[in-house]
């Protein structure tokens, strides 16, 4: 197993060890330390980490800074929420008994549609009646959106700052649309009061444990997929494109398709996180897909180390724990601290936590293992 990890996925020992440590922390330590409530909160944070992992791929390795990851994260979340909402609506109808419900509303119609005088399910909600199709939409919808945006932008060689600002504008467009199309999206409140998934109550404590582990598992899978992609020639091409785009183009590659692929992959990974978020917290809101959360996703990634898939998870956890702690204790200070993190992470620690660990942790590890080697070498002499 260990050698399989070494050879096929991470490529070297240090990375394997750090992946295993992360798995250990998430799978063993957190469930032991935290109660169900806190663990559920960690699950919520980890759903955000997906976006950061995606950003490591497209920003850290591809040099494409997207300030619109919230769009894809949100699409994944809304897709899942739509499915759960329909199920909740149908269940409510059954619980209340058909006679009663007929008097109140159309059976199986989400409550917010009712409030917005919508009497029939809109066509765009039809796919979310089926779970497999929802799963497909959850990945396909953001994937297609990312593909279209990416193709349109990268074919026209929109890059760098311009790309960042345009993706920010897209985030804004998405927010406005989701807030104003109340009858379809639940407006500013979003899609709330989600209860069961295929009959399984997601609000119970045991369900929350299971959902936490599913989130962790999917996150680790996404990290491993990222590592595999980076290990291939494509991964090197991606770095090459980031550092010397023209050289790649004049080596016979279609640079745009490289960028489109990684941008789409990052979008899909984010979307999975959005869906898991909905499972963990039981709602989806447009406040989570605005400009600011998208910038936060970038800072998760920057703080963790923009070139470290594993660091992205720690970056997310640090910021989220920090926000929870400070907003409980000293909310005003949090903004100042957060602002300082933005500045420090660009000015002083551009490689983030992963960089710090590498600079200070590696020599330490080397010293420890050196000692072991010394000890072994001394023995035969004695």
């Amino acid at each position: 197993m260990n050698s399989f990890l070494n050879n096929k996925i991470t490529g070297n020992k240090t990375e394997t060890i750090s992946l295993l440590i992360l798995a250990l922390v998430l799978v063993v330590c957190f469930p032991l330390i935290f109660d169900a409530f806190r663990l559920n909160m960690v699950g919520k944070y980890l759903s955000l980490a997906f976006a950061a992992v995606g950003l490591v791929l497209c920003w850290g390795y591809g040099g494409i800074l997207s300030l619109g990851q919230g769009v894809f994260w949100g699409l994944g979340g809304y897709a899942m929420a739509a499915f759960l909402k329909l199920e909740a609506a149908v269940n409510i109808a059954h619980e209340a008994g058909t006679d009663q419900i007929k008097a109140l509303s159309t059976v199986g119609l989400p409550d917010f549609m009712d409030w917005n005088q919508i009497t029939e399910l809109p066509y765009i909600w039809y796919p979310f009646k089926s779970f497999p199709i929802t799963l497909l939409m959850m990945i396909g919808l953001p994937g297609i959106v990312a593909f279209i945006i990416g193709t349109a932008m990268f074919r026209r060689r929109v890059s760098g700052v311009y790309f960042a600002i345009i993706t920010q504008a897209l985030c804004w467009i998405m927010e406005i649309l989701f807030v104003t199309r109340q009858g379809w999206t639940g407006g500013i409140n979003g899609i709330t009061d989600l209860r069961t998934c295929l009959g399984w109550d997601i609000r119970t404590i045991s369900a929350q444990y299971v959902l936490y582990f599913i989130t962790v598992l999917l996150l680790l899978i996404c990290i491993i997929i990222g590592k595999i992609v980076l290990r291939t020639k494509f991964g090197k091409l991606l770095i090459a494109t980031r550092d010397m785009e023209d050289r790649v183009r004049f080596s016979g590659y279609d640079v745009a398709s490289i960028k489109v692929f990684i941008f789409t992959l990052a979008g899909i990974i984010s979307a999975i996180g959005g869906a898991m978020f909905v499972f963990n917290v039981g709602f989806m809101s447009p406040k989570l897909v605005t400009i600011e959360p998208s910038i936060y996703m970038v800072i998760f990634c920057a703080l963790g180390g923009r070139n470290s898939l594993i660091g992205a998870v720690y970056g997310t956890l640090i910021v989220c724990f920090g926000r929870t702690f400070f907003s409980e204790e000293f909310p005003a200070l949090w903004m100042l601290l957060m602002g300082s993190i933005f500045i420090l992470v660009t000015l002083v620690f551009p490689r983030g936590v992963a960089g710090i660990v590498e600079d200070y942790g590696k020599p330490l590890l080397a010293r420890i293992s050196d000692r072991k080697v010394d000890a072994k070498e001394i023995k035969p002499i004695k």
Partner: protein
Amino acid sequence: MSLKEYILEISDLTVSFDGFKAVNQVALYVEKGSIHVVIGPNGAGKTTLLDLICGKTRPTEGKIQFMGHDITHMLEQDIVKVGVGRKFQTPSIYPTLTVFENLEVSYPRGRNVFGALTFKRDQEVIGRIHEIANMIFLDKLLDTPGELLSHGQKQWLEIGMLLIADPQLLLLDEPVAGMSVDERVQTGKLLNKICKERSVLIIEHDMNFVREIAHTVTVLHQGSVLAEGPMEFVERNEKVIEVYLGE
């Protein structure tokens, strides 16, 4: 000698930037298997000419034909695929990748996304990389990151990155700039070896180097061709002496 065979034929090539004609009605023919050097004072349009050939800049008028393909309006990567390789003036290599990886990335297999994802580093690839590394004098430095190479070695690496794609025509923008005397001699040998199987179009300022390697020299001045021919012939041209070479 029988009929000359041309690998690259450029006719009436003009590009204008807001009315300023950086390249004006240029006609240029590169013979197969030759080293063709373009010289000229700063701002003569030399680099722009290479940009036009490889598709980085689009011409306002004119036609560029390469081995029977009309490449005037082709996409950059497609021009590479028909067999034109371009080296830039400032050595463009991938700084964080090793010499081996630099060459591997330039290997002409797995050029689309799916191909790159499933690309396997097999014996053929490794063999070819060693062969090229040997040729460009970097066989001992395969595991060195690109950014740690000397300026001259970077120039070689970039030439190697072109060679591994097996182009029929190499466009080299000042390949010996910043090289020591020894490196220059080695580069001269390398270029002579290269042109046995392919043609080379070079921009160069170092006249001694040009004298050594050039089969044909074209002098550009203010976007137009001033003179063309073997170096001995061009050197004696009065206009060339006046605007470029001096007394």
